[in-house]
Structure formats: C-alpha cells, structure tokens
C-alpha cells in the first residue's frame, strides 16, 4: 500500500465531506439546532422545573450531556449513511472504486467525515445548552475521548448501513427502529436507577447507555455505570464494525455486481 497516495486520498474524501456538510447546512446543521433547542425548552425548562433534582443535578443539567451525545450520534451516523449511499445511488462511488486507494482509506475517510459533522453539531448543541444552563467540565479527557469514540462507532454503523442499503428507505430503517429507541432508552432523560430491577438490567445491554453515562460523567461527574465498561463497549464496537466494513467492502457487498 502506498502511504502517501492514501494520505492524499483520505484528505480528499474528508475535504469533500466537510464541504458537503457546509454546503447543505440547511439539511445538516439547522435541523439538530432546532430539535435540540426544543428539547431544552420543553424537557429542560417546562417539565424539568417540576422534576427537580436528578442524579444530584438540576434536570436541565442532567439531560444536557445526553442531548449533546444524542446529536453527535445521530449526525455522525446520518452523515456517513446519506453521503455514502448517495454516492452509491448517484454512481460516483465508482470514482473511488476505480482508484488505487485502499478500502481502509475509503472507510476511514467517510468515518472522519461523519465524526467531523457529529462533533461540529455536538459543539453547536453544547453552545445552545450553555445558553440554558451552566455546565462544568469535570473530566475533560473522558468527555472528549468518549464523545469521539462514540462518534466513530456510529459513523461506522452508518457506513455499513449504506453498504447494505438498496433504496432511500433503507437508510432510514436503522435510525428509526434501532438508534432512536436505544437513545431514548439510553438514559438521556433519566437515571436508570429510577427503573425497576428488570429494566435496569435490560438497559445494560444498550450500548448507548454507556456512551451517554460516560459523557455525563466527564461533564458532571455523575454516572449510573462504571466508566471503564464504557470504554470497553465502544472499543469493542469499533473493532467489530471496522472489521465488518472492511470485509464487506473487500467482498464488494452492495457495491460490485
């Protein structure tokens, strides 16, 4: 593998992805800003004032990290799945397939694009959150590492979804039926300590719970789970999903007849 060639190719994909995100900002940046503002207004302000304290913090403070994480996850996933499926659908994926860049570069370039969009939106939502409430940064390293790794996980998942997708409907199925429910059940809006035993136990199979709690721990210093599990879970997912995307791409699943 020619390293220099692949570095330039990687940079080309990332640049292209970032320009795409900024060019269609009405579709990429504005919707999460509006939705997340509504979450803060409705759940944080209106309902939150009646909920009182959760996990030792005001409800607004408690949900802020979860909402930021939720926007990072959705946007990382959404960017890769729509951009890569779009390339498949429009045929310009062929521009990459005929080129000598490695499959790993194709994957990493799109992951990087998804992560950048996820983090960009995450930063924007953080600014919105700060206009509603005060947030500290108790453990910066944990905060940044966990948000980055979670973003990578969902960008990869989006890549695999795009490989399998045959029509536009197929890129909405996983977000609608898996990611959104898991996010809502992942402790964004509540501490799992409020749940009956069985559901507490069931929640522990939800990977998003670990991401949200580790992120909340990084910011507020409070968590329902052991933080080291969070790292194990996200790293395991990264290894599994990267291997899977690599194998699928090499076999040409969904892209080569």
């Amino acid at each position: 593998m020619n390293l220099n060639l692949n570095m330039i190719a990687f940079y080309t994909i990332v640049r292209k992805e970032v320009i795409r995100v900024l060019r269609i900002w009405i579709q990429t940046i504005v919707p999460p800003a509006i939705t997340m503002t509504l979450y803060f207004v409705i759940f944080g302000n209106l309902i939150g004032s009646r909920v009182g304290v959760m996990g030792g913090y005001s409800y607004m403070q408690f949900i802020a990290p979860g909402i930021i994480m939720m926007s990072v996850i959705t946007n990382s996933y959404g960017n890769v799945v729509s951009s890569f499926f779009g390339a498949k659908y429009g045929g310009h994926i062929e521009e990459m397939l005929v080129s000598p860049m490695s499959n790993a570069t194709i994957i990493l370039g799109h992951i990087a694009g998804g992560v950048l969009r996820g983090l960009l939106v995450g930063a924007m939502v953080t600014i919105i959150a700060l206009s509603f409430t005060k947030l500290e940064l108790k453990h910066p390293l944990i905060t940044f590492s966990i948000v980055f790794l979670s973003s990578v996980v969902f960008a990869m998942a989006g890549f695999i979804n795009a490989l399998y997708a045959k029509k536009f409907d197929d890129i909405a199925i996983i977000p609608t039926f898996i990611i959104t429910p898991l996010t809502y059940l992942g402790g964004v809006f509540y501490s799992i300590n409020l749940l009956p035993d069985f559901w507490q136990f069931a929640s522990k199979f939800n990977p998003i719970l670990y991401m949200v709690n580790a992120f909340r721990y990084g910011i507020l210093g409070t968590s329902d789970i052991d933080i080291s599990y969070a790292y194990i879970v996200v790293c395991a997912f990264i290894v599994i999903l990267f291997t899977l995307s690599f194998v699928l791409l090499k076999r040409g699943v969904g892209i080569r007849d």
């Binding site: 080309t12 429009g90 045929g91 062929e94 521009e95 397939l97 860049m101 080569r256």
Partner: protein, 311 residues
C-alpha cells in the same frame, strides 16, 4: 509486454445470467482497439471487470504486466475509464469532480488543479468549470468524463461508447483528440456502435457477441474480408434503356440511379471502363452502406445461423 491481456474471462451475474463465456483478448502497448458488438453482447461487462467495478467469475486479467488479482493498485494506476453511463456527482462542479478524482489517485491538489485546467481546456469545458454538472449538456457530460479519466495520465484509456449522443462536429473533434493522445503513446480501447468511428480510429478490432469473441483481427484485415461491395451511382443523364453492364450484378433504382455490386473478379476499374464504353457519365458515387457495418452484420448473422442450425 502487453497493455492488456484478458484470459478466459467469464462472468455470470447474481441472477444467473452469463454475460461473458470465457473471452480472450490481447491489446498491444500503443494500440488503438475497438470492441464491437450488438447491445447486450458483454462489452460493458468486460470493461467493468477490468476496471474493478464488477467481480469476475473466472479468468485472468493483466494490465502492463500486473495481475489484477494480486496487484490491483498498480493495475488501477494504469487505467483511465470513461463509462457508458454518467457516474459523477451531478451536484458537483466539473473542476471539483476532476480535482477530487486526482486526489483519489494520490495527486496533490496543486498539481491536480493544473491538470484539471489542461484537460478541461482541451475538452472545451474550462468555461463550465464552476457550473453544477447537472446543467451540462449530454455531450459536455461525456467530455467531462473523458477529462476525469485522463486526470491521472493513465497509459491505458478505456472508452465505453464515448461519443454516444455527441453531435457530428464534436465527435470529429473528439476523434482528433483520441488520435492525438494515442499518437502520444496512450493505448486506447473503445466500444462504439458507430462503425464509421471504429473504422476511422482503430487499428485493431474485436467483435463480441453473446459473451464470446467472434472476431479479433486488424482493421485492414477485417475490411479485406469484405469481398463484395455495393455502390450507388448517380448518373448525369437519365437512362432510357438497360445499360448492359456485362459481368456485373446491378439494378436501376431510378432513372439516373444505378446500384452495382462490385466483387473480386470485377473490380471498380472494370466497371468504369464499361461505363465509359456505354457512354454513361457518373456524377457521384457512394458505398451503399458503411463497409464495416456490412461486415459486422454478416459476422453476427452468420453466427446466429450456425447457432440456429445447432438448436
């Protein structure tokens, strides 16, 4: 070394359809080859396998000595391909499309910009560089794909119907362009349904039908196989009676139009001698159809006859 060697290449698609039944082809470095064949013959399939866009079922491909199975990067580096269908991002601009494509080949942005300028200029698209590609005309889209295929300056250029839907003037200028890059050392393989184009450009020709190569020879050789040709003669004066051209098969198509079959035994010189003797003045003369077209039809038909006999 050859620019391209295809050995026993076969392809059966997932739906069970066998598009290629073991084809062999050898393309010399610097050559200009045409791959002809009716719709659905397997031309695009063969090209897409060579360019890593379709998975082969079996067989072997070598490009400039590199095996596609073991050295895909080197193979890809050597090939530039213009696909049959538009496959760039139609929401992007020609300049971006070219510079990004260069990036995928590891070419630095500064160099990519220079090359994009060169090729967009040569293909008369420089003025359109910042337009959304969707707004380009069909012929411009084809030229954009040609520029894109050249951006990494490949040694082997594969053109899948590059002039389909292109007007005559632009087609001629594209021919000149192809001849030029071929003269500068780029090996070219081209598929086309305009046989005049193949005859004009290519030195070698392979004809593929139903997934098999039924002819692979030099263009001159192929045309020499054509033992008979029909000419249409426009006459200066109306013919009032049968001209009595002994030895020739002919028919009067109108009062001053004659259709005459010229074969090996009775050449065109003999014909004119006779016409002079009969005092028939010819104002113009043309082939009834393109010579290659006639040959092509005959080859494809004869194969059909054979397979019908067998079935």
């Amino acid at each position: 070394m050859s620019a391209l060697i295809i050995k026993n290449l076969a392809k059966t698609y997932a739906n069970g359809f066998t598009a290629l039944k073991g084809i062999n082809l050898k393309v010399d470095v610097g050559g200009f080859y045409s791959l002809l064949g009716p719709n659905g013959a397997g031309k695009t399939t063969a090209i897409r396998i060579v360019c890593s866009l379709v998975e082969k079922s079996s067989g072997n491909i070598e490009v400039f000595g590199y095996n596609l199975a073991t050295h895909p990067e080197s193979v890809k580096m050597h090939i530039g391909m213009v696909p049959q269908e538009v496959n760039f991002n139609t929401f992007d601009t020609p300049l971006n499309i070219l510079v990004n494509q260069a990036g995928f080949y590891g070419i630095k942005r500064s160099i990519a910009l220079q090359r994009a300028k060169k090729y967009l200029g040569e293909l008369k698209l420089w003025d359109k560089r910042d337009d959304i590609s969707r707004t380009l005309s069909g012929g411009m889209k084809r030229r954009l794909m040609i520029a894109r295929a050249l951006i990494h300056e490949p040694e082997l250029l594969i053109l899948d119907e590059p002039t389909a839907g292109v007007d005559i003037e632009i087609r001629r200028s594209m021919w000149k362009f192809f001849k030029n890059i071929n003269a500068n050392g780029t090996t070219i393989i081209l598929t086309t349904h305009y046989l005049e184009e193949a005859e004009n450009l290519c030195r070698n020709v392979a004809i593929i039908d139903e997934g098999m190569i039924i002819e692979d020879t030099r263009m001159g050789e192929l045309l020499r196989q054509l033992k008979q040709e029909t000419f249409v003669l426009n006459l200066e004066n109306e013919l009032t009676e049968d001209p009595n051209l002994k030895g020739f098969t002919y028919s009067m198509m109108g009062e001053n139009v004659l259709e005459i079959l010229v074969d090996e035994d009775h050449g065109i010189n003999d014909l004119f001698e006779l016409l002079n003797k009969e005092n028939i003045k010819v104002s113009s003369l043309r082939n009834k159809s393109n010579r290659l077209e006639e040959l092509f039809m005959r080859l494809v038909d004869s194969k059909k006859d054979i397979s019908e006999e067998h079935s």
